[in-house]
Amino acid sequence: MRLPFLLFLAAALATSCGQFPRDPEDTLNRVRSEGSFRVGLVAPLGQGRLDAKAAQLIQRVSSSAGAQARLEIGDAEPLLDRLESGDLDLVLGRFEKKSPWARLVTFGPPLRVEKQGKTTFHLTAAMRNGENAWIALVEREARNVAPEAQ
């Protein structure tokens, strides 16, 4: 009897405390209170006209979090490195499906899948590992942009 009771208690506690899940580094709350979030666009994305799906995702996240996106363009490695250390909130780019970065950052559902020879690439958003409230928000909006990506 103890186990179901404890679980019920934990679940009740979890659902009654507003935001669940929460971010260990408080990303979503910071984005909401500062009214902005920092987005890295992996070149060539953002050079010239921004990809329609990427633009849609930024727009949706922006309105869902009530914050403006601050964009910057760069190469994948430095941007992902900064994402991992919490210097950026989101990195958008075209990544290999089996990217070695998958252990260090969290990739959201793909906005588009592209095949190049035997390699599959995903146009997707990367988030900082463990920021589960922020990740949940971005994942939800990515699925709204690309409903085929579950």
Binding site: A14, N132, Q150
Partner: protein
Amino acid sequence: MSRHFPPHVEEGIARARKLEYWTLAWLVTVVPLMALVVGSSQAMKTVWIEDMLGFIPPIVFLVSARLERKEPTDAFPFGFDRVNSAAFVVSAVALTLMGLYLLFEAVMTLAKAEHPTVGTIRLFGRDVWMGWPMIAVLLWSTIPSMILGRLKLPLARTINDKVLHTDADMQKADWMTGLAAIVGVIGIGFGLWWADAAAAGLISFGILHDGIGGLRASTAELVDGAPRKLEKDEIADEAQLLKDELERLFPGARVRLRETGRVIRAQVTARPPDLPLDLETLWPGERDRAWRLAQVSFVPPQDDR
């Protein structure tokens, strides 16, 4: 001659076989479900590996319960009573190594302060935090296991089976594993990144404990140790009583007992008695366990080196 036991022991073995088949059937459902939800939670990964290791004791039991009845052969003239201990050493080594590895991983995750991601999944048009399906699968992995463990424990004593006893003990304690993992997952939900790795560390301690316990139980038999208690690495009370009884019947003789599978064999360094011994009446313990004494052999004192 192939081995047969009294009816209540045979019934116990048949029931234990059924329970082990149920355990395997339940594990077949748990392991793929776990694989679907494991994500990057260290605690989930640890429980998943523990569940995969959970296949070993039932398989060892089922194989050895079949093999122990095999007729002795020229190559194995003493039969196959000990086959479960030999197999159990292998599974205990696997458990111990896996426990050490998972403990190391949990400590490294804590040391590197890796933050586990538990994302979302779209189910029936709603985005659901993966923590909830994880908890549901953990409950499914825990509750049947506890029930099976409790059913197996008394049977293990009736049929005096170390593999079954260790299996039952592991399963009975599974609620702690499940609860630790659930606390870890809920901890992630509350933003406590370390809760997951800490839970994984606790669970791997449990696996390590089971592995070391299994090693002790199985190696004692393989090195001809005196019969041990099922629940701990101490000489069994009934074995001590038997030794005392044989020493009383054969004063000054050296009496040595060893365990082969479920049964006890005694060796007495003395001249054999003129009349054959009745093993049933010789057994000083509970009557319904007299079947455990399978043999009393005699070695002339001058040949005991």
